[in-house]
Amino acid sequence: MLLSVSNLSVRIGSVEPLSNISFALDRGEILGLVGESGSGKSLTALAVTGLLPLIGGRISAGEVVFDGTDLVPLPEARLRSYRGRRIGFVTQNPMTALDPVQRIGGQVDVVSRLHLGLAPSAARARTVELLTSLRIPEAAAICDAYPHQLSGGMKQRIVIAMALAGEPDLIIADEPTTALDVTVQAQIIHILGELVRERGLGLVLITHDMGVVAQVCDRVAVLYAGRLAETRDAAALFAAPAHPYTAALIDCIPRDGMAPGSLSGIPGTVPSVLTYPAGCRFHPRCASATAECATQTPRNTPLPGAAACLPSSAGAANG
């Protein structure tokens, strides 16, 4: 496994916004990290890259094993040598992810100069090559442009180029398409998928869009309110979601032949970390909740294929 996260818990002050998260992915695979806003997706990304101290958090338990090394006990200086070099990061909003006062080329160059020790001219040549491979037209001219001269989709490609410039093995993309037009979204997802297949990268794709997950992901980890609902192969998950939350998310994808107005949402909102309900955290919004869901916490380290859900694991045991 390229990346294997097991029983990861995160603390910020006195609260634990993330408990017992486990998932894994290998080279050439795309893992979709799914959940509504506030379910802990971005926090998981920060934990994996060791950037939690920035928001005053820390990993309180668990392992993040990347390519055979547990990153959790590593000091900041060692972690920094992973960031950009072994693990590339694509930030959420491409509109603000580039420094407004620097030319595009310089911002991409600097990553390969820092991590691969390239000379300025070699770094520029690599940048042009990289941008061209991301289907950016006239890459050499784009290098001299400032961010505000580019469109959102173009900026997102630049951000992806920056993440790729250090030749990482793993890319974590935090909602890379949320801020983009639908047509551009598809292009970006397509580009990311290609990169994974062609270069044998691992990709953690953080998204709340089950449609995107269905398109490209090999594995899925569904998060809800800081806990893992279920994690398994994408095909199996879409064929037969084991957790009611997963099923509800899938029901939110528009389908062909739907009657107008019949697209369902999930009633209610994700609870904040201060108001997590007892028992299963999804039970107040769950259609198939039973009385024991409100009191008993479902096993929160689900086996691959199983779900952290009392009724459905009971059903599985009975059946």
């Binding site: 950009g84 603000t96 407004p100």
Partner: protein
């Protein structure tokens, strides 16, 4: 910067700077050679602005005075901006105890008028060009520190800073390559406007006899000697006074034009 105000003020500043730099080539007179028989001369073809109580050409002394005024205020503000940016950036970026210490000192010195801080410092260091520079530099240090700190704190949480860090950038890299360049524009405008204030402060110290010492002319000391002769030879105080006023007005107008040209407010929003 292409508005009439910006153009006109820029032109005046250019004139003053060129006059200061090329003063020895522009005038046949020396600023310190006395010619008593020709004292208090009215403006003539030989002496465009007349002469002072020692028969020295007023225009010559104003040109050389510009050297003093400009070099003292620009140097002082330059050093002050440099130190203020480093201090403010460190405080804003690293936070914690360093930030609290810097903030307390800055707020304390902010509560005293610049002229008072400058007077105290000149009293300690002693009058003269060096004393004036230090006094002005320290008097404005708080302003630049504060401004830079606020800028850095606003920019610190931008996505591109997070992106840089997630790609392995170090603190130093983020500070010098991302934070300071993005904080630069507003600080430069503030520095421009502060230079105007500094010229007035330099003239004030000169007026009190605490600036450049005779016979080196400064606009302030010229006005000081002219103040005693206000009715006998008003030109001695009026012309250097005009030089100060016009230059400071020009700097302020140019600063406004600069704000518009750099489009600071919109650019910060866009980022």
């Amino acid at each position: 910067m292409t508005t009439p105000k910006g153009l006109l003020s820029g032109l005046w500043l250019l004139l003053v700077v060129l006059g200061a730099v090329f003063a020895p080539l522009l005038t046949p007179y020396d600023y310190d050679i006395q010619n008593l028989p020709n004292s208090f001369a009215s403006p003539t073809a030989q002496h465009w602005l007349g002469t002072d109580e020692f028969g020295r050409d007023l225009l010559t002394r104003i040109l050389y005075g510009a050297r003093t005024s400009l070099s003292v205020s620009v140097t002082a503000i330059g050093v002050s901006v440099f130190a203020g940016m480093l201090l403010g950036a460190a405080a804003g970026y690293f936070g914690g105890r360093l930030d609290r210490a810097v903030t307390v000192v800055v707020d304390l010195s902010w509560s005293f008028p610049a002229i008072l801080v400058a007077l105290i410092l000149v009293a300690i260091i002693g009058p003269g060009v060096t004393g004036t520079m230090v006094a002005i530099g320290v008097a404005y240090l708080a302003q630049f520190t504060r401004l830079t700190r606020a800028q850095i704190m606003a920019i610190r949480s931008e996505t591109y800073i997070e992106a840089a860090r997630s790609l392995g950038a170090s603190d130093g890299f983020i500070l010098f390559r991302h934070l300071l360049p993005n904080a630069l524009a507003p600080v430069l405008v503030a520095a421009m406007l502060a230079t105007g204030d500094a010229i007035i402060l330099e003239a004030t110290l000169g007026f009190f006899g605490l600036g450049a010492q005779p016979p080196v002319p400064s606009w302030g000391s010229m006005m000081s000697s002219g103040s005693a002769l206000l009715f006998k030879a008003p030109g001695i105080i009026i012309f250097p006074g005009l030089a100060v006023a016009l230059t400071v007005i020009a700097i302020n107008l140019f600063g406004d034009a600069l704000i518009r040209a750099l489009d600071i407010k919109t650019r910060i929003r866009e980022a």
